[in-house]
């Protein structure tokens, strides 16, 4: 208000200063990739991150600490469990600073759902599990074949070159296996298996023709890539790696974007909505609230990349209401926020192996073994009790004090001797299973309840259904069977009954599809209804497959950036 002339003057100036070629919302795995690709293609890029800045190496305060330097020896105090009941299930004393406070960032669980978040530059790319597997046409054709959800609008051939492209930059170590349903990539050398893992691999591949046991494929650099790494085998990745031994936005994509001179990074910027011009039928920019000053600011651009994570991105679309989009931007299909998926996991078995007593290993490998999916691949592996399948991650190890100490009886010198000797060999085998898209697993905004910035809280509805429950039985039974067939004893089947979100693989809330009536994004990750808005985080996923999904977000992001810039240059955007 006040003097209109002055307001106009300020507005014009502000508008110029606040205008970029492209705005990227979020700086996690997919936002980091968008920043890198768009900056390298010459676009003036503004990255908006709702949390604080985290500078590679400088802001990894615990990375070089020894166990005895932690007051609680990496255990979570009772206070954490009470104040951060959700996040504390995922953090420890070493990486707590990369997770949000549940108190400061509330959401509503209509049904149990652990929404694990890291609001900072780099997002959850700092703390991710780093396992990287390609999807294949088994996955891209699954919905069409089963009549579930909608068909993916792309096939493996559309994304394959982009997997190549992002793998070469990110650095993925792994072993080529020639499997059609788990395609090989551009791998750095595979890490080594230990003696027990090799035994398991040899036995399983002999006794189960068609099954494969391979080294885990991980974004840990077994060889240096572009000045990063190599991995030092400390296995402390989630504290941030001062050696740049694994891929994160902070270590890899954001520095590359910064090096172009085209990047502006604005932390503490909570995007409240994407602005829409009804006449031009385009997004014109975004409105943010500064997290610290609570001031509202607008930024403008020709293109918006929304990479605020599956739930965060859906919430932003739902908040972006206008005359044209009374139910949220790009949401005429009514699918925004729906079809929320997460992998179901924490089910499998562990067994003791008697033998290999004179074998040990050295180094702390931040990776395990992988048993690619072997169910519902073809007629021979078809299951009547459930659709889709699962893969196992496994680790062979000799038990140490943290496994045996509490239950070891007695005290004195003999106890101490037992406690500090390598224990028996054990193999842990745990499954990650595909979850189907269900319309009524969804997020919505609870208009009556606001956070400290006045934004409506996210409310999550989520449950596992019959298909997941039936699959879990097989996930456990098959683990027991393979261990038993490989000579393991004292086999302990487990199922920790995780709730949604525990796997931190949320996806699906703005699915891709060919038909705008039933999907939110087209084959280029463009909003069907607003062509200059792209979503390339987990929200775009049409089905979940069973593979760890981040690599696919990276590839889809690079592909969408290439499309967007080409279209922009042709004048199509």
């Amino acid at each position: 208000m006040g003097d209109p002339a002055q307001d106009i003057h300020l507005n014009i100036k502000a508008k110029e200063q606040h205008t970029y070629d492209v705005i990227v919302i979020g700086s996690g795995i997919s936002g980091g990739w968008a920043a890198k690709e768009l900056c390298e293609k010459g676009l003036k890029t503004l990255v908006l991150e709702r949390g604080r800045d985290v500078v590679h190496v400088r802001d990894y305060p615990t990375a070089l600490l020894n166990p005895w330097e932690f007051e609680h020896r990496l255990q979570n105090p009772e206070k954490d469990r009470n104040e951060n009941p959700v996040q504390s299930t995922a953090y420890d004393e070493g990486n707590k600073h990369f997770f949000v406070s549940d108190k400061e960032h509330p959401y509503i669980q209509a049904s149990p759902f652990n929404w694990i978040r890291g609001y900072q530059v780099g997002g959850r790319s700092l703390t991710w599990g780093r396992q990287c597997y390609r999807l294949s046409d088994l996955d891209f054709t699954a919905n069409a074949k089963d009549g579930v959800g909608v068909d993916w609008p792309i096939r493996y051939s559309d994304i394959a070159p982009w997997y190549d492209y992002v793998e070469r930059f990110a650095g993925i170590s792994g072993q080529k296996e020639g499997l059609l349903h788990l395609p090989d990539g551009e791998f750095l050398p595979a890490m080594e298996m230990n003696s027990l893992e090799r035994h398991f691999k040899d036995t399983v591949m002999k006794k189960y023709p068609g099954r494969c046991v391979t080294m885990g494929r991980t974004a840990n650099l077994s060889a240096g890539v572009g000045g990063r790494g190599p991995c030092q085998y400390r296995n402390l990745c989630s504290r941030g790696c001062p050696f740049g031994g694994y891929f994160s936005s902070n270590s890899a994509t954001l520095p590359a974007a910064m090096a172009t001179g085209n990047l502006t990074l604005r932390p503490f910027s909570i995007v409240t909505e994407i602005l829409y011009d009804q006449e031009k039928k385009r997004a014109t920019g975004v409105r943010i609230i500064d997290a610290t000053t609570h001031q509202t600011v607008e930024y403008y651009a020709k293109i918006v990349f929304l990479n605020a994570s599956t739930i965060g991105s859906a919430a932003i679309l739902l908040r972006s209401k206008s005359g044209a989009f009374p139910n949220g931007m790009g949401n005429s299909s009514g699918q925004v926020g729906h079809n929320l998926m997460d992998h179901h996991f924490r089910v499998g078995a562990e067994g003791i192996y008697k033998g290999l007593d004179d074998e040990y290993y050295s180094g702390r490998r931040p990776n395990g073994i992988y048993v690619p999916r072997f169910r519902n691949l073809d007629a021979a592996t078809n299951r009547k009790d459930y659709l889709r399948g699962f893969g196992y991650q496994g680790i062979g190890y000799r038990k140490i004090w943290m496994d045996t100490g509490e239950s070891m009886q007695g005290s004195g010198a003999k106890f101490k001797d037992q406690l500090t000797k390598p224990g028996p060999w054990s193999l842990w085998l745990s499954a990650w299973g595909e979850t189907l898209p269900y319309y009524d697993n969804f997020i919505e905004l609870e208009e009556g309840q606001k956070d400290q910035w006045g934004l409506s809280l996210v409310k999550v509805h989520f449950s596992w259904r019959d298909n997941e429950k039936a699959m879990r039985k097989d996930m456990q039974a098959s683990a027991v069977e393979m261990l038993s067939q490989s000579g393991f004893e004292n086999i302990d089947p487990f199922d920790f009954h995780p709730v949604g979100g525990d796997c931190v693989h949320e996806m699906g809330t703005a699915r891709m599809g060919n038909d705008p009536a039933h999907s939110v994004l087209n084959r280029w990750n463009q909003l069907h209804e607003v062509k200059n808005v792209f979503l390339t985080d987990g929200s775009c996923m049409t089905s979940s497959a069973c593979q760890n999904p981040s690599l696919t977000y990276m590839a889809l992001t690079a592909r969408a950036c290439d499309f967007a810039v080409t279209a922009l240059k042709k004048g199509d955007l």
């Binding site: 020894n66 005895w68 009772e78 080594e192 296995n235 040990y360």
Partner: protein
């Protein structure tokens, strides 16, 4: 009057509830740091490598019980400490710290075997009444020692920055385990 009626109605069960849910008398814990060291040293004594006392395990147990244990477990633990003080006087006529290693081990072993309840009974009991004194003592002694510098680097092997992973190595006779993974 109100107090009397409440007591009369709830009786023994009320006391049991109060015992677990009262504000734990942390000053008892604070006042027995030397005893915590002695208890830990009994479980993990000095041999050719440092014991729990030299590794500062008493202080670690104090911090862990204070900050990481739930209220029920804290109450059980403090009560258990007082029990140890009493028992060593009854059995050996002297404070725990002045008993021989054999006497101290015997006393702890008796507490350990008295508190055994595995399986479902143990699980239900833990949920209702928290961890027992001995469970907490063992857990935090092991954790405190194995994550201490002497425990991790002298009683076991610790590699700060391994630099590589070797999947198969012959285990040498007497070789200690890695202290981290």
């Amino acid at each position: 009057m109100g107090l009397l009626i409440g007591g009369a109605l709830v009786g023994g069960a009320g006391w049991e509830w109060w015992r677990l849910h009262r504000q734990p008398p942390m000053e008892v814990l604070q006042g027995n740091l030397a005893l915590l060291d002695d208890l830990a040293e009994t479980i993990i004594p000095a041999t050719d490598t440092p014991g729990a006392k030299a590794a500062g395990v008493g202080a670690a147990i104090f911090t862990l019980v204070r900050d990481c244990a739930d209220k029920k477990t804290q109450n059980n633990f403090i009560e258990g400490l007082q029990d140890v003080i009493q028992k060593s006087k009854q059995l050996y006529g002297k404070p725990f710290g002045e008993c021989s290693q054999a006497q101290r081990e015997q006393l702890l072993d008796s507490i350990e075997s008295a508190g055994q309840a595995g399986g479902l009974v143990g699980k239900v009991r833990k949920r209702l009444t928290g961890d027992s004194f001995y469970t907490t003592l063992k857990k935090y002694t092991v954790l405190g020692y194995c994550t201490s510098k002497p425990g991790a680097t002298e009683a076991m092997r610790y590699d700060y920055i391994p630099g590589k992973y070797v999947g198969s190595l012959p285990l040498q006779p007497g070789q200690r385990s890695w202290s981290t993974r």
